[in-house]
Symmetry: none
Subunit: 192 residues, 2 copies
Amino acid sequence: MERKQKGRKKIEIKKIRDSTTQLVTFSKRKYGLFKSTSELCTLCGADAAIIVFSPQGKPFTFGHPDVHSIINRYSNQTPQTNDGIAAIEEALKRDRIRDLNKQLDEQLKQLEKEMAQGEALDKMIKELQDHYGWHAPVNELGLHDLEKLSVSLEDLKRNMDTWINELWINELLIPSEQSIHSSSLGSNQEVD
Amino acid sequence: MERKQKGRKKIEIKKIRDSTTQLVTFSKRKYGLFKSTSELCTLCGADAAIIVFSPQGKPFTFGHPDVHSIINRYSNQTPQTNDGIAAIEEALKRDRIRDLNKQLDEQLKQLEKEMAQGEALDKMIKELQDHYGWHAPVNELGLHDLEKLSVSLEDLKRNMDTWINELWINELLIPSEQSIHSSSLGSNQEVD
DNA sequence: TTATCTATATATAACCC
DNA sequence: TGGGTTATATATAGATA
């Protein structure tokens, strides 16, 4: 008796090669995305806009109360340099940097965790072998060798901090702002 | 004895009254929204941008490749002309960003290399054991387990991309060279 | 492309630290 | 406040029509 494969299966988050599958997935997920955005707005009284360009370059949007108002509100967030505002901007930048650093920390923590659980060990070695011709017998790897990985991870982390500081110092960072709120309506449209 | 109800409950899609609950929900759902948007982009090669204003009016965004390029593309090639100074500033920032991205790339590449050479394997495992209580005998690690490491590296890379995108998204950085390609000069709109 | 039907993978509401 | 846990509600991959 044949047993057809039914039900959802786990997929890797990487580009889908089969164009048909990709299109179907795009369509389904786009729907889900718009739906959850809509729910977020309703549940929390938030305003939001989404613009998605399909693989074919076709734009789809959703907005509450509408896309344009959100874009305008967002675009107008960037205040002109104003002496009185300078100090506030500085504070905002600092907060933002802290958030970002936190995000980075969390990501690295997550990565470490996954590694700890051995969830992500498999492909890495394989890839290393493929890309770098590393053929040392895996079962010969001792604690001595494996330990070194943490050094790299730490290095990366430290470098990222430096890198962020550079951004800060060079004032490439622009402050974000706060603003008002509104509500009502919603629109989901396909643009051509 | 009464058993407390754990686990998810069905909720109506209507404004959450309790401010604490609303905040928690906003935070969680926003995360899910950004994540699925990111996945949509990765899986289908789509481009997208999301702008969400929290109930407090604070803006959160996500975009691939970045919010500005998406908005500009959506706004339909708005070839806004910047004045000379603005253009120069843009160019300078753009160069700086490119350098920084280059640095990041090199760091990641270097990290991969080190891992490939097994130079950094040692301490990682040790750290993992120390921090996460992973005590699997190292010499029992097979190719199967070790291969998974590449997934983590890929995850890290992807996360970095996303993270960097966030910087752009939040206007902490300006659009990359690529995203600016589309329009002649401007991607930056100012309100007078 | 759009819709339906599973069987599962995920997201997340309520709770607890 | 932020992180976990758990039980469930939902989303969705794959096959089909």
